[in-house]
Symmetry: C2
Amino acid sequence: MGASDRPSVLVDGRVATVVPVTDRGLQYADGLFETIRMHEGRAPLWRRHMARLAQGAERLGLPAPEPDLLAQECAQVSAGLPAAVCKIIYTRGSGGQAYTPPQTPVPLRIVISREAPVLSADGLAVTFCQTRLATSPSLAGLKHCGRLEQGLARRELVDSGFDEGLMCDAGGQVIEATSANLFVLRNDILYTPDLANAGVAGVMRELVMERLVAEGCPVREEALSPEDCRQAQALFLCNAVRGIMPVTRLEVQNLEVPPLVRKLARDIAALLDGGVGRGA
Amino acid sequence: MGASDRPSVLVDGRVATVVPVTDRGLQYADGLFETIRMHEGRAPLWRRHMARLAQGAERLGLPAPEPDLLAQECAQVSAGLPAAVCKIIYTRGSGGQAYTPPQTPVPLRIVISREAPVLSADGLAVTFCQTRLATSPSLAGLKHCGRLEQGLARRELVDSGFDEGLMCDAGGQVIEATSANLFVLRNDILYTPDLANAGVAGVMRELVMERLVAEGCPVREEALSPEDCRQAQALFLCNAVRGIMPVTRLEVQNLEVPPLVRKLARDIAALLDGGVGRGA
């Protein structure tokens, strides 16, 4: 199938541009999503995305997703794109009585593709957003469809001169950026915010932590304040679409990118863009 | 138009059963809703619903909704139903770049009707849900589309023998029921949870507070613990669809319904079902 024939959206496996108005994803944000980088039809982090989606489905009481079916649909929508991002949305479907979900949900499956952004080694200018992330013990870690706070935070960044914004939870602890997880180097120790009560447990965050441990550089999951970030030697952000994003400016302060972060960024870029054969 | 010809869903004013897959309501819960009780084509709490929707739109940076248009569409979808519930969903529409909203959003407007439940004076059996509500200073009070926590809490109630469940926020304070606000009578003083950091500021809650003040019975908005509820003389729930719902059992404890609550329930039922001419 040529790029021009490529369907960019599949809904329950069929080319479509619409979903039922009754879908609980629309009505209540009752669903999950994954945003997956593909390189020539292959998704280097596929297993991690599917594991998180399955865990999320279990937490929400949704039937387990079917990875083989989803893989086929991601391949179909991204055919002809050398570097693509596939977004899978997996909702509880329709039915139930107002907030009460249906006893036997029939999930709705949406797969959407777009061209992937070029992986860049340029650093980001980052600030703190005023919009707070929810402290939500029942939903923390999940990549659920309720992302209104992220949208409000992104509105703050428009025309601000900053590329990304760090978000604090209700208690004022730094949790993550609007669309990336955060790592902080301070006193030669790497930290990443604890996500027990807020935030999205990113698949790239997980991979980065494993790689750093393997290289003898463990990461501490702890509560971090804005002041901890301001006093850091270095910061970087990461997600599954853009890999490692070093922070070269936090508010008015310029930051160096240490060799460790440069090397990690190169390694992850090679992995995401297919330069290495090793799994992740 | 007879009941059989009645369209049950209008999307942007047209009879429809689907919405664009790109809608930010679906993608990110980036929208608001109202659930409005209609009696013979009239919505007794219309002005309050429209005021809350307008305030929510302002907080989210959405264009102001058009009440006259929405009134016409609610009348259209509920024609032929003596007692209807109209749900209005008002999203940011499509566009933007991932979480970043479009600079000039073109909202999507969905109006759905169903038969209204019969107003009942029967008391409810209520328990505490394990699912926590988010503590979310940036979204507190808003009736936004992210209602996943309410759905998970309702799942706990299925086959539990309880009609409703009280939900605590991340800090363990009681905020509201899954689909109703809460009032607690304790030491002859009426309380309702403070909603500065969590919960939905219900239009019925607002009306009830005004009525009670007018009758010389002010309500204190304070933090309330589960223990405060267990030690109460009486509790009642309220929402715009079902009016006043006295609690006659909390967990294993039976509760009386005081005359004040009975009278309030009668007054609100009369208002909702059109028995009184006075506005609200």
